[in-house]
Amino acid sequence: MTGSTGEAGSYGVGIGWRPEIAGFVAALPGLRFTEVIAESVPASGPVPAPLATLREAGTAVIPHGVRLSLGGAEPVDPARVAHLAAAARQLDAPLVSEHIAFVRAGGLEAGHLLPLPRSREAVDAVVANVARTQAELPVPIALEPIAAIFDWPDDELDEAAFLSEILDRTGALLLLDIANVYANARNRGAEPTDLLDRLPLDRVAYVHVAGGAEHDGIYHDTHTHAVPQEVLDLVTELCARHRPPALLLERDGHYPPADTLRTELDAIATASGYPVVT
């Protein structure tokens, strides 16, 4: 698949593969990469036909884990790690990705990605779990900071220091979700570009772009609404500092008509200066 990348090994603009939009994704003439929810990839047996077709066409498919709970205080579940590694092998993926978050504790599933306290203890927990995971993976892992509706009361580090320390100590790549950067800054009353200025942007493997909406006075990163212009502007701000090799639109429900999705993909291409894929 490395043979299929364009200028300086970039993948350009992509969209997350979901069963509901499989036809749309398959019909994108310029698509070089996509992402699939890792937990939905069968660990053995044939790769689901639509993904196999994309692979045959030279489109890279990145398994994106959502339930590993790398930020859990407990060690990651070896079966979940083995599954992520199997998905990477099944898809001959160039890398995998997961979140800097936890999704369960004390025997209860939270149902979504929860933020960690930005403490030394939490950094140690994430670093240990990433190391356990890297030991089993055939490819590099990119770590994604999340959008947090709330913060823990006793943070010791700011977000840039917290993330930089995790990346330094694990040697992992960064999956930067620009919509999460926007959401967190908006909800905390901060400038999103301040974080961009302090993150190791040369470690960005790819970027997530997604839509959201305000609810209860808080901006929620829903993946079910249109990408706001402010997020596209932030893509441009990011690319002016350091253009990432790839940017991916995440849409997880309330799928709009194909024309609307195409317009969003084109807007990301315009904002980043990459060729359109539609």
Binding site: R104, E109, W152, D216
Partner: protein
């Protein structure tokens, strides 16, 4: 209530219990934001259950997220399918939602019995 000197594991468990099982909010967190997060989790859960149980969700129309949230508030998830099954069994259902429940509860043997049943 957890304290800062508690371990990360204990503090994470207390937070998740507050978010999904009706436990008290641990000290120091902004109760308004935790409540916002709690309701966002319930909305996400309701749309995941609706994917497994479209007729059940549709039978409540726009009230579905509220109906689901009231039922789910203090019930941690057992998975979207099981959540929908338990909810469907606990409420009066429209014909379409009842058919959906029957289909999900069917086995080769219940289907065989239905085929053998004389048609009205």
């Amino acid at each position: 209530m957890t304290r800062p000197e508690d371990s990360l594991a204990e503090r994470q468990a207390a937070l998740v219990a507050a978010l999904v099982a009706g436990a008290p909010i641990p000290d120091g967190f902004d109760p308004r934001l935790i409540d916002t997060a709690r309701r966002a989790l319930l909305r996400k859960r309701s749309s995941e259950v609706a994917r497994h149980w479209p007729m059940l969700a549709a039978s409540f129309g726009e009230r579905w997220p509220t109906v689901f949230a009231e039922w789910a508030e203090a019930r941690p998830t057992r998975g979207s399918f099981q959540d929908g099954l338990a909810l469907a069994r606990s409420l009066p259902l429209t014909d379409l939602a009842a058919e959906e429940l029957a289909a999900h509860q069917s086995t080769p043997w219940t289907r065989l019995l239905r085929r053998l049943r004389p048609r009205p």
